[in-house]
Symmetry: D2
Subunit: 387 residues, 4 copies
Amino acid sequence: MPPINVAVIGSGFMGAAHVDALRRVPNVAVVAIASADRPRAQEIAGQFGIPHVLDDWHDLLGRADVHAVHNCTPNNLHFEVNKALLGAGKHVLSEKPLTMTSAESSELVRLARDAGVATAINFNYRGYPLVQQARGMVQRGELGDLFVVHGHYLQDWLLYDTDYNWRLESAVSGKSRAIADIGSHWCDLVQFVTGRKITRVFAHLFRAHETRKKPTQEVETYKGKELGAPHEYDEVPIDTEDGGFVLAELEGGLRGSLVVSQVSAGRKNRQWIEVDGSKSALSWNQEEPNTLWIGYRDKPNETLIKDPSLMDANARGYAHYPGGHPEGYPDGPRNLFRNLYRYIAAGKKPGVDAADFPTFEDGHAEVVIVDAVLASHEQQRWVDVNH
Amino acid sequence: MPPINVAVIGSGFMGAAHVDALRRVPNVAVVAIASADRPRAQEIAGQFGIPHVLDDWHDLLGRADVHAVHNCTPNNLHFEVNKALLGAGKHVLSEKPLTMTSAESSELVRLARDAGVATAINFNYRGYPLVQQARGMVQRGELGDLFVVHGHYLQDWLLYDTDYNWRLESAVSGKSRAIADIGSHWCDLVQFVTGRKITRVFAHLFRAHETRKKPTQEVETYKGKELGAPHEYDEVPIDTEDGGFVLAELEGGLRGSLVVSQVSAGRKNRQWIEVDGSKSALSWNQEEPNTLWIGYRDKPNETLIKDPSLMDANARGYAHYPGGHPEGYPDGPRNLFRNLYRYIAAGKKPGVDAADFPTFEDGHAEVVIVDAVLASHEQQRWVDVNH
Amino acid sequence: MPPINVAVIGSGFMGAAHVDALRRVPNVAVVAIASADRPRAQEIAGQFGIPHVLDDWHDLLGRADVHAVHNCTPNNLHFEVNKALLGAGKHVLSEKPLTMTSAESSELVRLARDAGVATAINFNYRGYPLVQQARGMVQRGELGDLFVVHGHYLQDWLLYDTDYNWRLESAVSGKSRAIADIGSHWCDLVQFVTGRKITRVFAHLFRAHETRKKPTQEVETYKGKELGAPHEYDEVPIDTEDGGFVLAELEGGLRGSLVVSQVSAGRKNRQWIEVDGSKSALSWNQEEPNTLWIGYRDKPNETLIKDPSLMDANARGYAHYPGGHPEGYPDGPRNLFRNLYRYIAAGKKPGVDAADFPTFEDGHAEVVIVDAVLASHEQQRWVDVNH
Amino acid sequence: MPPINVAVIGSGFMGAAHVDALRRVPNVAVVAIASADRPRAQEIAGQFGIPHVLDDWHDLLGRADVHAVHNCTPNNLHFEVNKALLGAGKHVLSEKPLTMTSAESSELVRLARDAGVATAINFNYRGYPLVQQARGMVQRGELGDLFVVHGHYLQDWLLYDTDYNWRLESAVSGKSRAIADIGSHWCDLVQFVTGRKITRVFAHLFRAHETRKKPTQEVETYKGKELGAPHEYDEVPIDTEDGGFVLAELEGGLRGSLVVSQVSAGRKNRQWIEVDGSKSALSWNQEEPNTLWIGYRDKPNETLIKDPSLMDANARGYAHYPGGHPEGYPDGPRNLFRNLYRYIAAGKKPGVDAADFPTFEDGHAEVVIVDAVLASHEQQRWVDVNH
C-alpha cells in the first residue's frame, strides 16, 4: 500500500513537532513543508528527506501528490488556510484554535461536511494512554454518577512583564489568550473524559500585567524563558487575560471548576483534572502523565501506571512501551496522527464512521466555549454555550 | 506560677481532642469537664486526673477556680454558651463556627471587647509550622505581588447517601454545611497566609444527595465510615450543600478560587492552597503538612521541610521536633492553645496586645463570609462580604 | 482506679519528649523527674505539674510511690540505670540502645525475667498506625512468600565536619554510631514487620570525616543545624561510622539490604522500608508516615491512607484521628507507652502474657545485631548474629 | 549532505524501537532491516518506507550503501554479529550486553580500535536530559566530595513462576540475568553520572523461583504480563538470578550500594539513583524522569524540572520540549543515536575525538563488572573488577 502523502505548513516549533510525530506514524510520508521562513524549512526538509519545500502554502492546493495537510500557522491564519485546504479536497489537521471566531469555525464544520474529507484538530492531550483509560472508566460506569469535575491549567512562561510572544497580541492570537490557548485544552479534556458537553459557563478573568515589554526581536513561544529579559523593547498595552476562573455546567447536571493561569511561578505546564463520582474518583496531571490516581471511599486509593497489562483494550493501543517506560508529550500527537491516517487509509467516511481523534467539530466546540467565557466575564453572569 | 485552670464543655470527639491538646500545654490544668454524657465525661476525667465532672455547663459560670473554658458543644449551642461564658468573665475558646448567624457573632465580638477577656476560635490549621512559615514568606514579600490564590478542600466521609451525622441537619449545624464546616477553614487559611480579607464572593453550591438515610442510632462525625451503611434508617430530605465553588476577591485586588466537596472519593481531608505571586508561588496540602512547595520561574522549585533549622524564627516556635520528624493534626491545636495561654499568663490585653491565635473577630469574619456565600448562591451574583 | 506513677530520668530533648507523650496516656501520672540539670528539670516540672524534682536518679529507687521509670540518660549510663531500676522492682522503659555491650543487655534480660516487672525499649517507630498495619498484612499472608526486604535510613544532621554532638564520642555513645543510632531502628522495624529475625549480616561501613570540629560548648542532638558552625572548637579524631551498608539474612531465607547514612544532604530522617513478596509488596517512609504503598503485579498499586475505616482492627487502635488528619512522630511513643501501661494496669505477666510493645528482649536483639555488624565490617565476611 | 544509511538487525520489540528512534534523527535514512522473521520485517519496512528487507544479516556485510548497523539480536549473537560488522568496516551500534564474556568484549574493543569505525552501545538511560544534567552537576563540583551512591533497579515482570522469556535461559541470555539485564544499566548510570569507575564489588544474589513454567509458545520480553499464565508449559530449572545486592567501591574512595530485583510487585521499571556529596545530593528515578531531586542541608531541597531554561547548556540539548512537556523513554535512544550520527557526520575519529555517547569500551566495562559480580557471589568476598 502506498503511503499517504502529507504536507506541513509552518516551520516553527509546532511545525517541527508535527514532522517529528509524522515520521513515527506508519504508512505516512511527509512530502512537503511550506513556510515563509525558507531557510528553516529547508533545514528541516534536509534533515528528514522531505522532497519539497514551498514558500507559499497556496502552492499545495493544486498538488495531487499531497493528500493531507497539517496547518501549523499562527492563529489568525487558521481559518483562511483551513478553508482553502478543504476547498482543495485535502484532508486537514489544524492546530488549535480552529479559527478566531465561531462564525468561522461553524463555517469550516459545514465546509468539511460538504468536502467529505477527514478533519482533525490537535487536542493532543487526548493522545495520552491514561487519558484514554480515564474516558473508558467513565464510559463503563466505574465512577458511578458524576458529581463534580475540577482542576487547573497553570504555566509560568508569561510570569514577568518582560515575557513577550505573538500569543500576547490579540490581533494575531485572538481576543482570549490564556483561556483559548490552554484553558481550551482543559475543557476538551473534561468533555472527552466525561463524554459530556459544557453547556453554561461563569467566568472571571484577570490580567496580571496591564502592559508588557515587547522586545524588538521576535521570540518563539516558551523560548523567552531561556533568553531572559530583553534589552530593547517597547512598552505595549495588553488586552488579553493572563488567567481566570471558569465555572461550568455540563450535560447531565455535572458541575465543573477550572483555574487557568500563565503567571503561576514554578508551574510549567500543569494541566490537572479530577473527576469525582458516586463510586470512585480519578485524577490526572499532564506533568506526570504515566500515572492515574483513582480514589475510593471503602478501600485504598490506587495509582494506575501506564502499563499495557493493566489498561483496557482501547487505551492499551496508545501505549507503545511496557509499564515503567514513561511516554511523554511527543507521543500524544503521534497517537492522534496515527488514528487519523489509519482512519483515512481504511477509507472511513466522516459523518458516517466514528472518528477516534478530535475533529473540526471538536474544534468548533472550543471556539463557542471561549466565546461564552468572554461574554460571561464581560457580563459577570452565567452564559449558555452556543453549540 | 500557678497554672491557668481550664474547663472543657463537651465529651465527644472534639472535647476529648481538646483535653489531649491541653495536657501538652505548659502551665495549664484541666480542672473540669462538663457534658450531658456523664459516663463518657467521667471516663475522660478518670483517665487524665480531671477533678470535676459536671452535668450542666451552667455550673461552670460561677466557679472562681475555672479561668478559661473551651466550648465544644454542637453548633447550635455555640452562641448561647459563648455569651454566657463571656458574661461570667471567663476566657473562652470556642469551636467553630462561632455562631449560626452574623448577628450573633457580631454581638459576641462586642461582648468580648467589653468583657476584656481573651477569646479564641479553633482555626486549628493556623497551628501548623509551615502555615506560619507561609504567612511569614508573604509578609516579607518573598512572593512579590500576589496575583491569584486557589485551592480546594475535599473529603469523602459523606460520599454515600447512607452517610449521616448531625452536621447534615441545618437546625443543629446551620444553613451551610460544606462551606461552613470546611470551606471556612480554607477561607481563614487564605486570609491568614495572605494577610488579606475576602471582600466579595461568587458562589455556586451543589448537593449530590437530595435525601439521605438517617440511621435510628446517632453517629459521631467521621465515624460512619467505620460503621458502614445503617440497617435501620429514615429517608430524610437534605437542605445543606455537599460542596460548591467559591470565587473570591480579596483586599488589594487579589482573586481566589475554592472548590469544596464532601463527596470526593479517596480525598479524606485534602485542604490545599496555592498562592501565586510575581516572584514565587507557594503550595501547601494539609494531608502532607510537613512540606511546603515553593515555585520559581528562574530556578528549581523548592520543597521546604518542617525543619527548625530551615524555618524563620516565628515558625520555628511551632515545630517541636527536628526535620524529618513529622508533626501532625494534633499538634496544631496544641500550638494555638499554647499561644492563647501564654498570652493570658503574660497579662496581655485583648484589643491592645496583638493576639498570635485566632480570636472571636476571626470567628465573626467567617460567619459573614458564609452569609455572603449563601446569598451569592441564591442570587447567582457577586455579593459583598459584610465585615 | 489510681494512676500508675511514672518518673522520668533525664531532662534533655528525649526526657521532655517522654513527658509530653506520657501526659497523653490514660491512667498515668508523671510524678517525678530526675536530672543533673536541675533548672531544666524544674522548668519542665513546673510547666506540667510534676510534684518531685530529683538531682540524683538513685533517689527514685527507694520510693514506693514511683511504679515505673523512663530511662532517658546518655547511652553509657543505660546499663547501670536499667539494672538498678530492675533491682528496685520498678517497671522500666529504657531509651535505646538498651546497653553498650551484649553481655550487659543479656544480663538485663535475665534480671528483668527474675524481677517480673514490665520492661520496654523505645523502638518508637512501631507505634505508627501504618507500621502496625504492615505487620498485620504480612502476618495474614497478604504479601505471600517474602522474597526480599530493602531500604535505607538517611539523615543529614552530621553532614559537615563542623557538626558535633556527644553521639560522636564512642566512650559515651558506643563503638557504633550510625548503625546503632538509626540503623538499629530499621532492623527492628524489619524484624517487627516481617516477624523474622536477622540471623546473619555482611557489613561495610564508612566514615566521611576522619576528624570533626568539636565545639567548646555542648550541643544537643540535632540542634547543631540551627546553631551553625561553631566559632571555638577542637579538631578531634572520630572513631565511629557516618554510615554503611548492611546485607542481612533473616529467618526463612529472606534477604535484606540496608543503607545507612548521617551525611546525606537533604534527607532529614528518611527511614524507608520495602518488603517484596510473591503476591504483593509494601513500602513505607517514616517522613510520610500516613500513607502505605502496596504494590501489585496484576492490578493498580495502592496507597493506603492512615484511615481507621480502611485499616485492620489492631492497627486502627493506633490511629486517634480520621483519615486525612495526619498523625506524626510524637504519636508513636504515645501509643507504645499506652500499650505498656495498659499491660501493667491489666496485671499482665511478662514472660507469660504477650507484650504489644518492644521489650528488653527486643533491645538485646539489637545490641547483638550491632555487634555482628561491627565484627563483619572488621572481618569483611558474613557474621552470624548471636541471638 | 546525503544521509547516513543505517540498517537494523532484528525485528522484535527492540528492533522496532530502534527504527522508531532512528526516524527522528536528522540526516539518517533507515535503508534495510534484516530479520529471521521476514513477515514482521516486511511489515515494519512497509510502514516506514524501508527499501530493503533481508533474511540474513550477513548480506549486509558487503553492501556499500549501508554505512552503519544496529545490532538488535539476542544476547548470544551479539559477539558474532558485532565482530562481523566491524570486520566489514561498518559503524556499529550494539544492544547490550556487548557480548556474553569479557574475552569477547575485550576482543571487540580491540577490533573496533583497529577498524577505526564508530561504535556505540545502547545504554539508553544516558539519553535522558536530567541524567546529563546530573553528570554536569557532579563534574562542576556542585555536590562537593562524593560520599556515597546508592539505589535500586526493580521490576515485576518476572514475579510469578509462570513468567517466562528467553532472557531466563542462560544459554541464550548469559550466566547473569537480573544483574546483566538491568543492574548493568544502573552501574553504567552511576559511572556516567559520577565519572568514576567501579573497581571492586561484593555481591549477594538470589533466586525467587528455582523452576519456572516455560510456555510451549515463545513470549516477547515484558509481554507475558499481558498474556497471563500459560496453559501449556514445561517446568524447567532456572540457573540465573532474580535479583541481588551489589556493594561497590568506585574510584576515589566512593562507595555504592545497589539492590536489583525482577520480582518486586508493583515496581515496573524503577531504576533509582542517589548520589550524596559533601555539599548537596541528587536523586533521580527513571519512572519519573522529568524531575531531578537536589538535597541540601542548609536550604530547602529542590526539584529541578526538565526545563531547557533551567538546565545547563549541554543537558539542554537533550530536551526537545519546554518545561512541563514530559519526555520519556523513547526520547533517550533518539538522543544517543543523534549524537552517534552527528559524530560520524562530523568526521570525528574514535580514539581521538571524545564520544558523547556510550561506546564499546563502555560495553566492555559492563561485562567485566558482571563477571566480578558473579565471581563475588560465588566466593562471597570482594572481587576486583578487571578493567
